[in-house]
């Protein structure tokens, strides 16, 4: 995935996965902050992150990537976005 700063790409991905307007995906947002970001929503987020950023989904990432900030940090450290 490319185009735009990482945080905006992550915000767009979460908005798509959770089916909410992108304005609701604030940089501070975390699992549980939106009704849509529940357990099922979280797994939708994980699968779309895998598809768009090649994030490996395993028990560690499922448990760790629980906020916009954590997702950005993980992707920034582990994956190229260009």
């Amino acid at each position: 995935m490319s185009n735009g700063p990482l945080i905006e790409q992550v915000q767009a991905t979460l908005a798509e996965a959770l089916q909410v307007p992108i304005e609701e995906i604030t940089p501070e947002l975390a699992l549980g902050d939106l009704p849509q970001w529940d357990s099922m929503g979280h797994m939708e987020v994980m699968m779309l992150l895998e598809q768009k950023f090649d994030v490996e989904i395993n028990p560690d990432t499922i448990a760790a990537l629980v906020s916009v900030a954590a997702i950005c940090e993980h992707i920034g450290q582990n994956h190229s976005t260009s």
């Binding site: 549980g32 357990s39 989904i57 395993n58 028990p59 560690d60 499922i62 448990a63």
Partner: protein, 396 residues
């Protein structure tokens, strides 16, 4: 018997063989037995009657749907073992079911519904006593909950999406004198035990038989702040989870008894008490001499939600299962669990902490019949072979 062999379009990974097999019970009423090869490459179904080509194709399509839904993109759970006491030497090596039936200790009323005799009842009471001690160690407040539960309660916590397959519905005759008179004069059962009355004799379904104990407490606390911000409660109740052809012996009951100790408060309060209850029960199980392990697990979600919910539960270690050894089949049976629901019930039922945030909940739950069954599988029916603590409780 008519046998149908199906090659799954997607090979079933070893960690899902048991889960897929259990879901095959819900594919079609014609299926009387289902097996999945250990390597996940073949499914064998035994059918009650021969089926024509069209029915066979439909059946196969449904089986493939189950397999695909549960396995495509499935995440392999990282099962963590928290306690391992499987090596404890226990004296019995057989399934006690036949002997229990023979001596009148166990009487089958219908699939998954059994009457228990004095020996098993005393064993159930023994375990219940231990769980009551656990509850008392927390000063848990006692509650009594009904067996019926309103449909709208379960709808509110998404139960219909997560576990539709295991629901048991309750209804009654419509308030209509003609319908009641007709029923009184005509009602009877056919050779299969089916009531011969038309569906329109019965009222619309508004209630079910309860699938769990702690839900009743959460519903009673809904839509208000939790006084004091924390509580610990305990209750025992009849639970109902339909499992079709999987309902065999005391391993899987449609109607079973569950004792729970329930924790409600903030995250730390719930997690801390879940851990304390696990440690206290470890001592109890050691005294009893139970061979078991505790490991991370997931609930038996239905196929649509299974893959995601199971992965989420596993990753966040929301469920620890107590799995007792069944020596006769070199396997284990879940006899209880230590559960953390995060703020799921707090959010869905609007139960709040003093700071306005939703409460977190958790429970420690034990299946009483399964506990007794697992004990009998390990120690048999001969009192002399039983650990002293159990023998003394039952014989004084």
């Amino acid at each position: 018997m008519n046998t149908l062999k199906i090659i799954p379009q997607i090979e079933i990974p070893d960690h899902l063989v048991g889960e897929v097999k259990s879901k095959l019970a819900y594919v079609d009423e014609a299926i009387v037995k289902a097996a999945v090869a250990e390597d996940g490459k073949e499914i064998t179904l035994e059918l009650s009657e021969a089926v024509d080509e069209l029915s066979r194709m439909r059946l196969e399509e449904k089986v493939q749907r189950v397999v695909t839904s549960m396995t495509q993109g499935a995440f392999k759970p990282n099962v963590q073992v928290l306690e391992d006491h499987m090596a404890i030497d226990t004296p019995y090596r057989y399934d006690p079911t036949a002997k229990l039936m023979e001596c009148g200790e166990l009487s089958r009323e219908t699939n998954g519904v059994f009457t228990l005799g004095p020996l098993i009842t005393r064993l159930v009471n023994f375990f219940e006593d231990k769980f009551l001690n656990l509850a008392a160690s927390f000063d848990a407040e006692p509650y009594r909950f009904p067996t019926l539960i309103p449909a709208r309660f379960l709808e509110r916590v998404n139960y219909f999406h997560a576990f539709p397959h295991s629901l048991t519905f309750a209804t009654h005759l419509r308030e209509d004198l003609d319908a009641i008179d007709h029923f009184a004069q005509q009602a009877g059962c056919d050779v299969h035990g089916n009531l011969n009355q038309p569906p329109q004799s019965f009222a619309k379904i508004k209630t079910l038989l309860s699938p769990a104990v702690c839900y009743h407490l959460y519903f009673s606390l809904a839509d208000k702040p939790l006084p004091g911000g924390k509580m610990i409660a305990t209750a025992v109740g009849q639970c109902f989870r339909y499992e079709g052809i999987n309902l065999t012996s005391l391993e899987r009951l449609w109607n079973f008894t569950m004792r729970e100790v329930i924790f409600i408060g903030d995250k730390d309060f719930v997690l801390e008490n879940r851990e304390i209850s696990r440690n206290r029960m470890a001592q109890v199980f050691e005294d009893i001499g139970l061979a078991y392990r505790v490991e991370t697990a997931n609930d038996p979600f239905f196929i649509g939600e299974f893959r995601k919910q199971a992965a989420f539960q596993s990753a966040f270690q929301l469920k620890y299962e107590i799995r007792a050894r069944l020596p006769f089949k070199d396997s284990t049976l879940a006899v209880g669990s230590y559960n953390y629901h995060q703020d799921f019930f707090g959010r869905h039922l609007n139960i709040t902490l003093p700071d306005g945030n939703p409460v977190h909940t958790g429970c420690t739950a034990f299946g009483l019949e399964r506990m007794a069954y697992a004990f009998l599988c390990q120690y048999g029916l001969d009192y002399e072979q039983w650990p002293a603590s159990v023998r003394e409780y039952i014989h004084g």
